[in-house]
């Protein structure tokens, strides 16, 4: 049972012409512009995040927990510029993570479940950005800032940074479970049930990461084959899945209260153009 779409009446379509013209038309007229803005922000953020954390700062994959003071100091000096420049970029764009949280919470608002799900998710994930991202960036920047610092002190910063980033998974675990529960209880078919179950897989990987607090080497340390590498594959699949599913959700969105309509084949072709048209 779907109420008539509450979106504003939309002009016929973008004018034929330059890409820029079409984008401008969408910005002015598409009722889903905020949703698309949030989605593109999420995609852009992950791309920048990947580039900064992997090749620029070399903070991922994480260096070894069992290094000596001298080796850690060398790592900071060797990556001095990459760390400071890369992390400065992250500080500038960290606010983009808000868009992802908002879009995910929006998906829960659109579901038939209580709004408490979406609100809890926003609170949890907003807080989790502090130990889960920002602390790492601040502490690594501090470590890189003065190359002449005592290696023992630098080692302390190194441990603090990586443990806070990799070890503080409890909130992500609970957040995944909140989203899972919302999806499984939802009657509006906003997101497929299999993704609900994938949230459970993602939640379990957070548990697998917990031994990183105990082990300094081996497969369960903070860059271990199990705790980091296998986990990253799971996380990558999970993130790729929800980015695509949120895109489909936006395409299907009819601004009603009932089940989301399925995406028809011809809709896929004109999805970004006329997605706001009432059915």
């Amino acid at each position: 049972m779907s109420t008539t779409a509450a979106g504003p009446a939309t002009p016929p379509g973008p004018p034929a012409g330059s890409r820029l013209g079409r984008v401008a038309w969408h910005w002015r007229n598409n009722p889903k512009r905020e949703l698309w803005f949030a989605w593109y922000t999420t995609v852009i953020f992950y791309n920048i995040f990947f580039i900064v954390f992997f090749p620029v700062t070399h903070a991922q994959p994480p260096p070894h927990p069992y290094w000596s003071d001298a080796q850690v100091a060398y790592w900071f000096n060797h990556n001095h510029d990459g760390l400071l420049i890369g992390l400065a970029i992250i500080f500038a764009i960290a606010g983009m993570t808000v868009a992802q949280n908002a879009l995910i919470a929006y998906s829960m608002r659109r579901m038939s479940v209580s709004r408490a799900f979406g609100y809890s998710y926003i609170v949890m994930y907003s807080l989790s950005a502090v130990p889960g991202l920002l602390l790492l960036c601040v502490v690594l920047s501090v470590g890189a800032m003065r190359p002449g610092r005592d290696p023992a002190q630098v080692h302390w910063l190194y441990d603090f940074a990586f443990l806070s980033y990799i070890g503080t998974m409890g909130i992500f675990l609970l957040g995944s479970l909140v989203w899972m529960l919302a999806i499984l209880l939802d009657k509006n078919r906003v997101l497929p049930k299999w993704f609900g179950y994938l949230n459970l897989c993602n939640a379990l990987t957070e548990v697998v990461v917990a031994p990183a607090w105990i082990f300094h080497q081996g497969v369960l340390d903070w860059n271990g084959l199990i705790s980091w590498w296998v986990n990253m594959v799971v996380f990558g699949v999970y993130t790729g899945a929800f980015i695509m599913l949120l895109r489909t959700m936006i395409q299907r969105e009819d601004f009603g209260d009932g089940p989301l309509p399925d995406l028809r084949k011809d809709d896929r072709a004109k999805a970004s153009a006329l997605a706001g048209t009432p059915r």
């Binding site: 209880l185 009657k187 497929p192 049930k193 299999w194 609900g196 179950y197 994938l198 459970l200 897989c201 379990l204 990987t205 548990v207 697998v208 031994p211 105990i214 082990f215 081996g218 497969v219 369960l220 084959l225 199990i226 296998v230 594959v233 799971v234 699949v237």
Partner: protein, 207 residues
């Protein structure tokens, strides 16, 4: 829980005498197809963990063999038999439910839970014995793998108890009972058994 549309032809709850064979007349995915995504994905993730274990085992075979000798193959065998039997009862539960024999199905579900609890008790006992014998999570590489694998499996088992709870709730309802949800939860429970079968052979049996 939602009453989701059946994935295939209606099961024989109407007009089929209870106790009779409850085979599906036509091919249908047992439970929600979505649950199979979890089953296959988790199977791959566990395979990755086990592959890492096997790879590192050959690097330290002496240590692994020595440590493995501290495990009790009898307890491991008992654990496997408990879960296999629980799967048998879970299948019986699904078949009874499909045939409309809901009271029988509920008993089967309770027995499944009981066997799962027996497994839980056995595992905890085994852990306690090992720790008491000086073998903990950080004792050596073998025991790190042992406690990690059995621990993460136990977590899956605990989630399995929740799914049995969902089955029992479904079976108790008179209206809007969903056979699909019962079968979906059963599929999850069998996965717990499946994962244990792999873990058991690699922790207890391989040399």
């Amino acid at each position: 829980m939602t009453d989701i549309a059946q994935a295939g032809p209606q099961p024989g709850a109407a007009g089929r005498p209870p106790g009779e064979s409850a085979e599906r007349p036509a091919r249908a995915v047992p439970g929600q197809p979505d649950m199979w995504v979890l089953v296959l994905f988790e199977a791959l993730v566990f395979t990755a963990y086990l592959a890492v274990y096997l790879f590192h085992r050959s690097a330290h075979s002496e240590l692994f063999l020595r440590s493995q000798a501290d495990l009790s193959p009898w307890l491991g065998t008992l654990d496997t038999l408990l879960l296999l039997t629980s799967s048998l009862f879970m299948l019986r539960c699904v078949q009874a439910s499909r045939a409309g024999a809901f009271r029988a199905a509920m008993s089967q579900a309770f027995i499944t839970a009981l066997l799962g609890t027996a497994f839980l008790a056995s595992k905890i006992t085994e852990w306690a014995l090992l720790v008491h014998g000086g073998h903990g999570f950080t004792s050596n590489e073998f025991f790190t793998y042992y406690f990690f694998l059995t621990g993460i499996h136990l977590l899956h088992l605990l989630i399995g108890f929740i799914t049995i709870g969902v089955i029992i709730c479904q079976l108790r309802r008179r209206e809007r009972r969903s056979q699909e949800i019962v079968e979906t939860c059963a599929t999850y429970w069998h996965t717990v058994d499946l994962l244990w079968v792999l873990i058991f052979s690699l922790l207890y049996v391989v040399r």
